[in-house]
Structure formats: C-alpha cells, structure tokens
C-alpha cells in the first residue's frame, strides 16, 4: 500500500528525512518512533499527500477518501460545536449515515454531553477525543496517527487502544508516537527514525 524509495524531505537547508526506504503492506500496523525532529510528522504528512517529497519516490496506493489523518492540531473549528464539526466532515466525506456515526463516536469517546458546546471551550484532552472522532468518522482503510495518545487521560488512552484493536482487521495503520507501549500488541512492524 505504501512504498517509499530513497525518500527525502528538506525544509530549506534543514534535512528532515534522508534516503528512507519503506514498505507497508495492506493490513500492517507500523509504529514510527524517534526523537523530536526525526521526521515522524513529516513522514505522515508525506504519506497523506499534505507535503511533497524533495527527493526519492513515494507511492501510496489508496484514495484520499480512505485516509484517516490525526494531526498535532485537532483540525476542528473552534467556533463550531463538536456536532457541527463532525457534521461538516461527514458531509464532505459524503457519509449517508453521518448522524448515526457521529452520535456513536461522540458517545464512545465520552463527548455526547458536550456535543452542542463550541469546541473553543474544550480542554486539550477533549479536543484530542474529538479529533479521534473526526479521524474515525469515515471508517478509513488507512490510519495515519500522529501522537494519538497526546493529552488523553488514562480513560481516553484505554478507549483509543480499544478502538484501534476493534478496527484492526483489514485496515492499515502508521502511528507516530513517543510511547509505543500501549500499541505494542497491535504492531506488526516498527520504524525507528534517527
């Protein structure tokens, strides 16, 4: 599904990725670890098509409608409510049953009672939960998760680990994290960026 050969990315003079070879087959669960600035986020952005490589080749054999991308930012509008944000994404992803899915995810991630509150009032942890709802909303075939446990409390982290386990079958995941421990049992491979 993902094939990179001698993949590199520079930002001006700064080289973030250099000569990376990578193969991720359908159904794999790849953990990407490494210190700050090693290029984990950049790699996810390249795979998502949000950035272009400066060298090498990258083939991602999937439609962008099937990609679920969890970024550092929650990618939700602060002046809209949780429900309105998911409704907007549901429309853009053309989900016929978006009302049902939205409700189910908000319930599962413990945001149902806050669904009509503007996300500007949300804590960082609640925003991360909402970002996860947004990522899972269209039931993607490829998950690109950047520090998914960031800002989550123990309950939220357990919820996420359970959700990923339930959604594991038939899906591919590339997860960048500083803390691979909770996902160790799901992982089929590990890439350490230096």
């Amino acid at each position: 599904m993902i094939r990179a050969r001698q993949l590199s990315k520079r930002f001006g003079e700064k080289r973030v990725l250099a000569g990376l070879d990578l193969d991720v087959a359908r159904g794999e669960f790849l953990l990407v670890t490494g210190p700050n600035g090693a290029g984990k986020t950049t790699l996810l952005r390249l795979i998502a098509g949000l950035a272009a490589p400066t060298g090498g080749e990258l083939d991602v054999d999937i439609d962008r409608a099937e990609v679920g991308f969890l970024a550092h930012e929650p990618l939700v509008y602060r002046e809209l409510t949780a429900l309105e944000n998911l409704e907007l994404y549901g429309r853009l992803y053309r989900l016929p049953d978006r009302g049902e899915r939205t409700g189910m995810l908000l319930e599962r991630f413990g945001l149902w009672r806050s669904r009509n509150e503007r996300t500007a009032t949300f804590s960082r942890g609640m925003l991360q939960r909402l970002a996860l709802c947004r990522t899972f909303l269209h039931d993607p075939a490829l998950y690109l998760l950047d520090e998914p446990f960031a800002a989550l409390d123990t309950e939220g982290a357990d919820l996420l680990a359970r959700e990923l386990e339930e959604r594991r079958a038939g899906r591919t995941a590339v997860v960048a994290t500083h803390d691979p421990e909770p996902l160790q049992s799901l992982a089929t491979g590990r890439l350490v960026l230096a």
Binding site: G49, E84, L92
Partner: protein, 212 residues
Amino acid sequence: MTYASDVAALARKDLLLELRSRDTLPAMLLFVVSALVVFHFALPAEESERAETGLLWIAIVFTALLGLTRAFAAERDQGLLDGLVLAPCDRSAIWLAKCISVVAFLVVAEAVALPSFALFFGPVGWELVVAVALADIGIAAVGTLLSAVAAASRARELVLPLLFLPLAIPIVIGGVGASLAGNPASFLGFLALYDTIFAILSWASFEYVVTE
C-alpha cells in the same frame, strides 16, 4: 450535485463562523463608513464627481482587503486547511465557498457604504450599483485565491496587499468608468470579462495553492 452540496456545506460553515465570532464584518462596516466620513471632510466642497466616485472605489477595495485578510484566518491559525484538503471533495469547492462568503460580507458592507456615499456626496445611480456587484465577484475570485497564498506565507499581512492591489486596479478602472461614463455598458462588460477570466483562473489554480 455533490459539488454543489460540498460548496453549500463549506459556505454555510464560513457564514456560521462569522456569525458567531463577528471578527470580520463589523470591522469592514466600521472601516468603510469611517473612510467615507474622512473623505467627506477631506475633500473640498467643490470637488468633482470623478474624485468622489474614485474615493468610493478606494474605500470599497480597502474594505474588501480587510475582509480578505481574515478569509482564511480560522484555517491558518488552527491548521484546518489540512483537514479540508484531505476530504474527498474537489478542492476548488473550498475556494468557491470562501468566494460566496466574501461576496456576502462585501454586499453587507456595501449595503451600508452606498447609502452613506449618497448621504455624504451625492446620488447613487444604477450603473454604480451594477458595477459594485460585478466588482464584488472579481474581488472575491482573485482575493480568495491570493488570501490562500498569503495564508501560507509568514509575512501574510504584507503579501496579500502586495499581490491583491495591483490586480484590483482593473476593477477600480472599470468601476469608476462605469459610474461616470456616458455609456457605462463597455465598462460593465469589462468588469464582467475580468470576473470571468479571473474566476476561471482562480478556480483552476486553487488546488495548486493549497497543496505543497
């Protein structure tokens, strides 16, 4: 139909954001009225109609610039463009929805500006109203694209005026001409042509602006 519903969903979102945050429209209204008041007192009493109309168009262009500066503020500040770009909708739908909201803000600002102009300077003819309506489309088409370009740059407050104002010169020429010429049809035609060309160019090139 899916393209239209994408545009409708995105435009609704932009209008809802403004309705709740009230960041842009009040500033545009205050600016355009203040500018006309300043021009009223700055111009000598016997000043020509040409100067007055010219100043109205300057006020409209700078009011539009104020609105355009905020057009991608939410997306820029919260990195939201990534979320929209990843959605499977045509990326030009993002541009078209922003254009619709920019036109809506301009129409509201001009609904205040034109009566104010009539109050301070003189009557507003139908030619001026049609010219302003056509100019709104051109301003929104070009300005939304350039606002997206500026949003990606560090010196965005400088980049947008530098890119937008030269491209707004034909709008001012067409607008002033249509307002004052004996036969405004040619100037209105010029504005319509400008709208068509720049709307097509901006619509087609938006995808390249929002992807690296």
